[in-house]
Symmetry: C2
DNA sequence: TCTCCGATATGATCTCGGTCAAGGGATCCG
DNA sequence: CGGATCCCTTGACCGAGATCATATCGGAGA
């Protein structure tokens, strides 16, 4: 996994060389070990995080301690962007999945950056809008699909267009179950079910072989664009 | 219900008199009857809608025809804001609940407006961020709370701080059930349950009397700020 | 190679909420 | 006044998925 510099973040693709260098000096590198808490839901939202390497999960916790994973972010992605713009508190918690290096960008620095680069604002609105869309899709899954439908949808979204009909899971099945809002045991049974139906092949080691692409799409319900 | 002009939209609170007048000429008034479709999920996102009066629901539909309501918008609110910023398609459908007058604001006009008023961009990012927060809360409800917890949370969020311990539902119970992701019958039983527990009083005519505020908060789990 | 431990699988139950069915009760209208 | 319609309530039953319990797999380290 090669290291990543600021210029590799799509979020900053608009910026010129000079601005990037300036930004470089204002960003705070922070190193984390595996399973380290980055912030807790309710903490004041002081800035955004950029993932240089490693993996971070963002999640909510139920009163009983169950976790719902909102997203897993890795190199080149940023998180907690939205929290900065209503100046309040983080609406979820974040924790590393493995040892990770992040950049922390203070709220004020980000706002100043935007003030100097108006087109950056538009770009960030696009980013926010995409996240919103992702959450709408998540709500749809949770409210309107059963376990089979949720899994099929997750897989079909990540199935590469080109031949190797394989989905590489970016996280463990345990974590995936928390992302789909179903229990591990149920996810396990659901994978098994799809395999028995002939839709999937092996599902080991985070490598999901898809055998019947069309039926996977059908199980996903729809929304899978052409 | 008094009529509302553009200056009454919080979204445009930043704009000066001149800009508002200019905007006035670029906005398209559109009238709808009750239960009329405004756009369908998948339609190209051509612009945003501002609600002058009436009520609009935004929702997703399952393959079986069940609806999940993402939001209900009324006078002074706008919807479909996010869709404009990734230039794609509406990720949900919208329909009037009653006869309504809306303003339609074309994407290009909005973008031009932002270009001329950079601080408007920040304000809109705040709006987007709030919507994102709302969806995160919705995901939390759907994934981590049971019917009782969802309803209690909904009510506690809308309970006025001052004495008349009453929540006025902005929609029918049927619609509310589609908003909370539970069936009408279950919602009815859940209301009944909370009343039997002594948490709620009468729940008739969209007027929910809260008797035991503390227990309502407790049933809501947490997240209810001090 | 052996041991340990976290991740995954599988079986046996339980349960919340969905489904199906049958009323109320209010409002509007002929 | 009777009927039609919409919204809500209540009851009986059922099933997908949660829960509880146990077994197995596979990688890391001694």
């Amino acid at each position: 996994m090669p290291d990543i510099s600021l210029r590799d973040f799509p979020l900053f693709s608009q910026l010129g060389e000079a601005e990037l260098q300036q930004l470089e000096s204002q960003v705070q590198p922070r190193d984390y070990t595996a399973r380290q808490r980055i912030f807790e839901m309710g903490d004041p939202a002081l800035g955004i995080y950029l993932v240089k390497n490693g993996k971070v999960k963002v999640f909510r916790v139920s009163p009983e301690g169950a976790e719902q994973v909102l997203g897993v972010f890795q190199g080149g992605e940023e998180f907690a962007l939205a929290a900065v713009f209503h100046g309040g508190r983080y609406p979820a918690s974040a924790e590393t999945l493995e040892a990770s290096q992040l950049f922390f960008l203070e709220r004020e620095v980000l706002l100043r950056l935007i003030a100097q680069n108006p087109e950056l604002a538009l770009h960030m609105m696009g980013t926010l809008a995409k996240k919103l869309q992702g959450l709408v899709s998540m709500v749809d899954s949770l409210a309107l699909r059963d376990a089979r439908g949720r899994l099929a949808r997750y897989l079909s979204h990540r199935l590469p267009a080109q031949p190797p009909l394989v989905v590489e899971l970016p996280m463990s099945k345990t974590l995936l179950s928390q992302h789909l809002g179903i229990k591990m045991e149920t996810l396990s049974r659901t994978f098994r079910g799809l395999a028995d139906e002939g839709v999937l092949g092996s599902t080991e080691r985070g490598r999901i072989e898809v055998i019947d692409r069309d039926q996977l799409y059908r199980a996903a319900g729809d929304e899978v664009p052409v």
